[in-house]
């Protein structure tokens, strides 16, 4: 293969790659927009039970975070393992810390209240 042909080929390959990555960003922004607009709309215009609304907001937020990780930060399951390991491990610790804190503080809040007050 001549030098020039090789160059040509790598250029077209690069162009393909670029289109692929651009589509990834475009998908990302599209999904993110959708996942943002819906909960905002629900809060603004829809009357529904508070708990349902909270669950929907939470679910949309989680999905949107995944979308950002996937399409903007290019995290996937084909990565070198250490990076994914790092993120999953951090998530586990984050959940332990936050869930533990809320569990403890909620228990304390109920048990520290002045008897006879709400």
């Amino acid at each position: 293969m001549s030098e020039q042909a090789h160059n040509m080929e790598s250029q077209t390959k690069a162009a393909q790659e670029e289109r692929k990555e651009f589509r990834s960003y475009a998908w990302g922004i599209g999904l993110a927009l959708l996942l943002t607009v819906v909960p905002f709309g629900l809060v603004q215009w829809m009357a529904m039970p508070r708990v349902t609304l909270l669950i929907i907001i939470g679910a949309f937020a989680l999905v949107q975070m995944l979308v950002h990780f996937r399409f903007f930060l290019h995290i996937g399951f084909r990565q070198k393992r250490e990076d994914l390991q790092l993120i999953l491990f951090s998530t586990v610790l984050l959940i332990i810390m936050v869930a533990g804190t809320i569990w403890i503080m909620a228990s304390l809040a109920t048990r520290m209240a002045l008897p006879g007050s709400p």
């Binding site: 048990r111 520290m112 209240a113 002045l114 008897p115 006879g116 007050s117």
Partner: protein, 321 residues
């Protein structure tokens, strides 16, 4: 090590010999009694199963396989044995599982918030932590005191506590658990004394220069003596009014407080109050929570209503409900 443990044991026995009961190893009530049992039990399990094997094997290995001893086998590359690995893991796992079962059961059984089963209604006491003294309010009797927590023997005591200043920890070792008292919050503690006697009471959470003087005596007395004590306090106590409470709330030790309240000098190192209203404790909690320095007027009821409610409660004292 065994020797050290023995020495400690002897010293503890000596410690029990004094006038004031200092420790849960010399329990004065059912809670501390159970805690003593847990302590010995866990200690025993670990001494036998954990420390025992290690303290036997370690000196033996170290001596037998010392560099100067050429006789025993030397296997510089030996680094794995399935049997030993299984033993190393399974031993601690079994011990922890056994202990975990007991921890789960006992933690629920001895939750400080859990009322003590009894055929008598618990005596209500409200505790307010000040720097550096505890104020004990007996809302049903309409009295309050600093320096002595009087308890009738055989009747559960239900304490509500808060702090008017920083975080403190209320603790009578010979009777039972300690628990934090915090500003704007109310924590609870259930105790019971099973025999008459004096026990050490204290704050264990550092709160400034007078911290080490923040002690009191928990005096367990027979029900009749308790009634007499209540009457005596009512007869001799100072009124718990806004002015006296202001003096009480200053950062001062009990000795300073007595010096500042001339009427308290005849109370043998204690300060007793009458006309302690039921609304005082919630008022202090609320005021601390709101950051308001002075209590509302409603926290101090008129003397005769307090006495009336006190009498009513007095009549109920000791009677099964």
């Amino acid at each position: 090590m065994r020797l050290a443990a023995l020495c400690c044991g002897v010293l503890l026995l000596a410690a029990c010999a004094g006038d004031t009961h200092l420790t849960f190893l010399d329990p004065q009530g059912p809670i501390a009694h159970q805690q003593r049992w847990h302590f010995y039990w866990v200690l025993g399990v670990m001494a036998v199963l954990v420390a025992g094997p290690i303290f036997l094997l370690l000196p033996f290995f170290v001596w037998r396989y010392r560099y100067g001893n050429k006789k025993p086998r030397y296997t510089p590359k030996w680094e794995y044995s399935t049997l030993l690995e299984i033993m190393s893991w399974s031993g601690p796992i079994v011990i922890v599982i056994v202990l975990a079962v007991f921890v789960w059961r006992d933690t629920h059984k001895l939750d400080p918030y859990k009322p003590i089963a009894s055929d008598q209604a618990p005596l209500q006491v409200q505790v307010i932590g000040y720097d550096w003294k505890w104020l004990f309010i007996y809302p049903d009797q309409g009295i309050a005191g600093v320096g002595t927590l009087a308890l009738p023997v055989g009747r559960p005591v239900f304490l509500h506590m808060t702090s008017a200043t920083v975080m403190q920890s209320f603790f009578i070792p010979a009777l039972g658990s300690q628990i934090y008292a915090m500003g704007g919050m109310v924590s609870q503690l259930n105790l019971e004394a099973s025999k008459p006697g004096k026990s050490l009471g204290e704050n264990t959470m550092y709160n400034g220069n007078g911290f080490h003087q923040q002690k009191f005596t928990a005096v367990a007395m027979l029900p009749a003596d308790f009634k007499a004590w209540v009457r005596k306090v009512r007869a001799t106590g100072l009124p718990l009014n806004a002015q006296n409470l202001k003096v009480l709330a200053q950062r001062s030790t009990r000795a300073d407080l007595i010096a500042a309240l001339p009427g308290a000098r005849s109370m043998a190192g204690n300060v007793y109050f009458t006309s302690a209203s039921k609304s005082l404790f919630p008022a202090v909690v609320k005021a601390t929570m709101d950051g308001t320095p002075t209590l509302p007027e409603s926290a101090f009821e008129h003397r005769h209503t307090a006495t009336q409610s006190g009498d009513a409660a007095d009549a109920a004292t000791g009677k099964p409900r």
